[in-house]
C-alpha cells in the first residue's frame, strides 16, 4: 500500500510526542549518565570538571561498601526470585485444580502486589520491630527463640526482612502469570501421561513444567530485573543501617549521589549495574531461545 504525503506527515505527527518525551526524559539522561561517569563530577558543579577516564569505575569496584551492597543485591535476588516463583507456581497449581472460588482466590492472593512498597515496608518494619509482634510470638508464645531477635539492626536480620517482604509481595504476580500459563497446557497431554502410568508428580515434571518453560523464563528475566531494582523496601526498613551493611546497590548509589554529592562515582556505579543486568538478561534470553527451538 502506498502512503500519501499527507499520510507520512501524520505518521510523523503521531511519532513526535513520544520521541520528544522519550528522548528528553530517558535517552538524554542515559547519554548524560554515561558521559558523567568519566568525569570528576560533584554536586554543586553543574558543569563537569576534569575528564578522568576510568577513575570513577576503579573507585567503585575497589570500594568495600559497594562490594557489600553488590553482594547484598545478589543474595536478595538469589533468594527472592526462586522464592516467589516456587510459591507463586504452587499457588497457581492449587488454584488451577479447584473447581470453585478461582476468581476469589486470585483476587485475594493478588492484594500484596497492589499494596504500595512504602506501606508494605512500614507494616513489615512494625511487625519485625524488636519489641514487635513477631518477636513476642517467637519468644513468648511458641518459645522458638530465647530472647527478642534484633531483626532490624543487623546485616542479615535486615536483609531477611527485606527478602521476606519481596517474596510476600511477589507471590501474587507469579500466581497470575503461572495460572494463565497452566490454562494453556492441553488436557489431552495429561490424559496421555496418565495412560502411560505417570503419577501426579510425574505429570508435573514431564508435562506441566516443560509446557510452561517459556513462562518460567519470562518470569525469571522480569524478576531478576526486579531484584536488582530493590530500593524502597530497604530504604524504609533499614535505611542501609547499621553502617551501610544492609545497603543494596541502588540505596548505596542514592546515598553517594544525594548524601555525599559524588555524582561521577554514582554515574559509574549506575552504569556498572546496568551492564550486569544487560548481561544477565542476555544470558537468560539465550537460554530461552535454546530451549524453544
Amino acid at each position: 500500500m502506498k502512503i500519501s504525503k499527507k499520510g507520512k506527515l501524520q505518521i510523523g505527527l503521531l511519532l513526535l510526542p513520544g520521541l520528544i518525551i522519550f528522548g528528553t526524559f530517558t535517552l538524554y539522561p542515559i547519554i548524560k549518565l554515561f558521559v558523567m561517569s568519566f568525569f570528576e563530577w560533584d554536586f554543586g558543579s553543574i558543569h563537569g570538571q576534569n575528564f578522568i577516564g576510568l577513575q570513577n569505575y576503579r573507585e567503585v569496584l575497589n570500594d568495600k561498601y559497594f562490594r557489600v551492597s553488590f553482594a547484598n543485591t545478589i543474595v536478595y535476588t538469589l533468594v527472592t526470585v526462586p522464592g516467589q516463583m516456587i510459591l507463586g507456581f504452587l499457588t497457581a497449581f492449587l488454584i488451577n485444580q479447584v473447581t470453585r472460588f478461582k476468581v476469589g482466590y486470585r483476587v485475594l492472593y493478588y492484594l500484596p502486589v497492589i499494596t504500595s512498597w512504602v506501606i508494605a515496608s512500614l507494616v513489615f518494619k512494625y511487625v519485625f520491630n524488636t519489641e514487635g509482634l513477631l518477636n513476642y510470638f517467637l519468644v513468648n508464645v511458641i518459645h522458638a527463640a530465647p530472647q527478642n531477635i534484633h531483626w532490624l539492626d543487623t546485616r542479615w536480620g535486615g536483609l531477611t526482612v527485606a527478602m521476606l517482604l519481596g517474596i510476600w509481595k511477589g507471590i501474587g504476580w507469579n500466581m497470575v502469570v503461572f495460572l494463565a500459563a497452566l490454562q494453556t497446557v492441553p488436557a489431552d497431554l495429561y490424559e496421555a501421561a496418565s495412560i502411560d502410568g505417570a503419577n501426579a508428580l510425574g505429570r508435573l515434571f514431564h508435562v506441566t513444567l516443560p509446557c510452561i518453560k517459556g513462562t518460567i523464563l519470562f518470569a525469571l528475566v522480569m524478576l531478576t530485573i526486579g531484584g536488582f531494582n530493590v530500593f524502597t523496601s530497604v530504604k524504609m526498613i533499614t535505611g542501609g543501617e547499621p553502617g551501610h551493611k544492609t545497603d543494596v546497590v541502588l540505596t548505596w548509589m542514592y546515598h553517594k549521589a544525594f548524601g555525599t554529592g559524588a555524582f561521577g562515582y554514582s554515574a559509574a556505579l549506575s552504569f556498572i549495574i546496568t551492564m550486569v543486568l544487560a548481561i544477565l538478561a542476555l544470558i537468560q534470553f539465550r537460554m530461552m531461545q535454546q530451549k524453544n527451538p
Binding site: 500500500m1 510526542p17 526524559f25 492472593y109 506501606i119 517459556g214 546496568t274
Partner: protein, 279 residues
C-alpha cells in the same frame, strides 16, 4: 466422585491456610489503625485490639488535617495526568510501529524495549539535573513528564502487541472510504485496542500513585507532597512513630487502588498475561 470432593476440600483448606498467612500483614495494618494511640507501644503487643478498645481516633485525626486532602489530590492529579499522556503517546507509538515501516523503526522499537532493563533509579542523577534545568524541582507538574517517560516503554510494548491483533483489513477499508492515517488511529485502533490500553493504564496508575524515590527527591514542600511521601513523612519528625496515624493514612491511600482493582481485575490479568504466555 466422593474421593474427588475430599480432594477438593483439602485443596481449599490448603489455599485458605496459605491465604491467611498472606493477608496477615494487611489485617495487622488495619487492626493497628483501629487501636487507640496509647496502646501502640503496649507490651505484650496484641494482634487485634480488644472490642472496647476499638476507636476511630486515628482516622479522625487524619481527616481533620487539611494537608492530607491536598496530598491526596496531588497524587490523584499527577497519576491521572501521567496515565492519560502515557496512554495517548504509547498508543500512537504502538500503532505506528505496528503498522508502518519507516527508517529506524526496528532500532526505535528495540531501543524502547531495551530501556526496560535499565533500573529506573540509576538515571536519577541526570534526571535530577534535567529537572533543575527545566526549573521543575518542587513542582507537581514536573513529576508528570518523568512518570510518562518511565511508563512509555512497557506501555508501547504492550499496545503494539494489541494493535497487531487488529485485522489490517479494517485499516484498508477505512482508507478506501477516504480515511487518513489519523482516521484509522481514531476510529479503528483506539476503540479496538481499548482493553489493552485500559490494562496498561491501570498499571501506570498504580506506578504513579505509589512512586516514592523520585517524588521524595524532587518535592520538598509539605503541600506539594504525594501520598507515599506524606506517609513516610511521619518518620523522623518525632522520636517515636505514631503508627496509628501511619496506618490510618495507609488504609486511606489503598482504597482507590482497591476499588480500581476490584472493578478492573479482568484488565489486570489481561495486562499481565499477554506478554508472558507466548514465549
Amino acid at each position: 466422585m466422593k474421593r474427588k470432593s475430599i480432594v477438593q476440600i483439602i485443596l481449599h483448606l490448603v489455599l485458605i491456610g496459605a491465604l491467611a498467612v498472606v493477608v496477615l500483614p494487611m489485617i495487622y495494618m488495619v487492626s493497628t489503625s483501629l487501636k487507640p494511640n496509647g496502646a501502640l507501644y503496649e507490651y505484650p503487643p496484641k494482634f487485634l485490639p480488644g472490642l472496647k478498645q476499638i476507636t476511630l481516633e486515628n482516622y479522625a485525626y487524619i481527616l481533620n488535617q487539611g494537608k492530607f486532602y491536598i496530598n491526596f489530590l496531588n497524587s490523584f492529579f499527577v497519576a491521572v495526568c501521567s496515565v492519560l499522556s502515557a496512554a495517548l503517546i504509547a498508543s500512537a507509538l504502538g500503532y505506528v510501529i505496528a503498522r508502518f515501516s519507516f527508517p529506524g523503526r526496528n532500532f526505535l522499537f528495540s531501543f524502547i524495549v531495551l530501556t526496560m532493563i535499565i533500573p529506573g533509579l540509576t538515571l536519577i542523577i541526570p534526571q535530577y539535573q534535567l529537572a533543575v534545568k527545566l526549573n521543575v524541582i518542587n513542582s507537581l507538574v514536573g513529576l508528570i513528564p518523568f512518570y510518562t517517560a518511565w511508563t512509555i516503554p512497557y506501555s508501547t510494548f504492550m499496545i503494539k502487541g494489541f494493535v497487531e491483533n487488529i485485522p489490517k483489513e479494517l485499516d484498508e477499508a477505512t482508507y478506501m472510504d477516504g480515511g487518513s492515517v489519523l482516521t484509522v488511529f481514531r476510529k479503528i485502533i483506539i476503540p479496538l485496542a481499548k482493553p489493552g490500553i485500559a490494562s496498561v493504564s491501570i498499571f501506570n496508575f498504580l506506578t504513579a500513585w505509589e512512586e516514592f524515590p523520585w517524588a521524595n527527591t524532587v518535592i520538598n514542600d509539605n503541600l506539594k507532597r504525594t501520598i507515599p511521601i506524606a506517609i513516610s513523612g511521619f518518620f523522623g519528625q518525632h522520636q517515636f512513630t505514631q503508627w496509628g496515624y501511619v496506618f490510618a493514612l495507609s488504609v486511606f491511600s489503598l482504597l482507590p487502588i482497591l476499588i480500581v482493582f476490584i472493578f478492573c481485575q479482568k484488565f489486570f490479568v489481561a495486562g499481565l498475561t499477554t506478554g508472558s504466555v507466548k514465549g
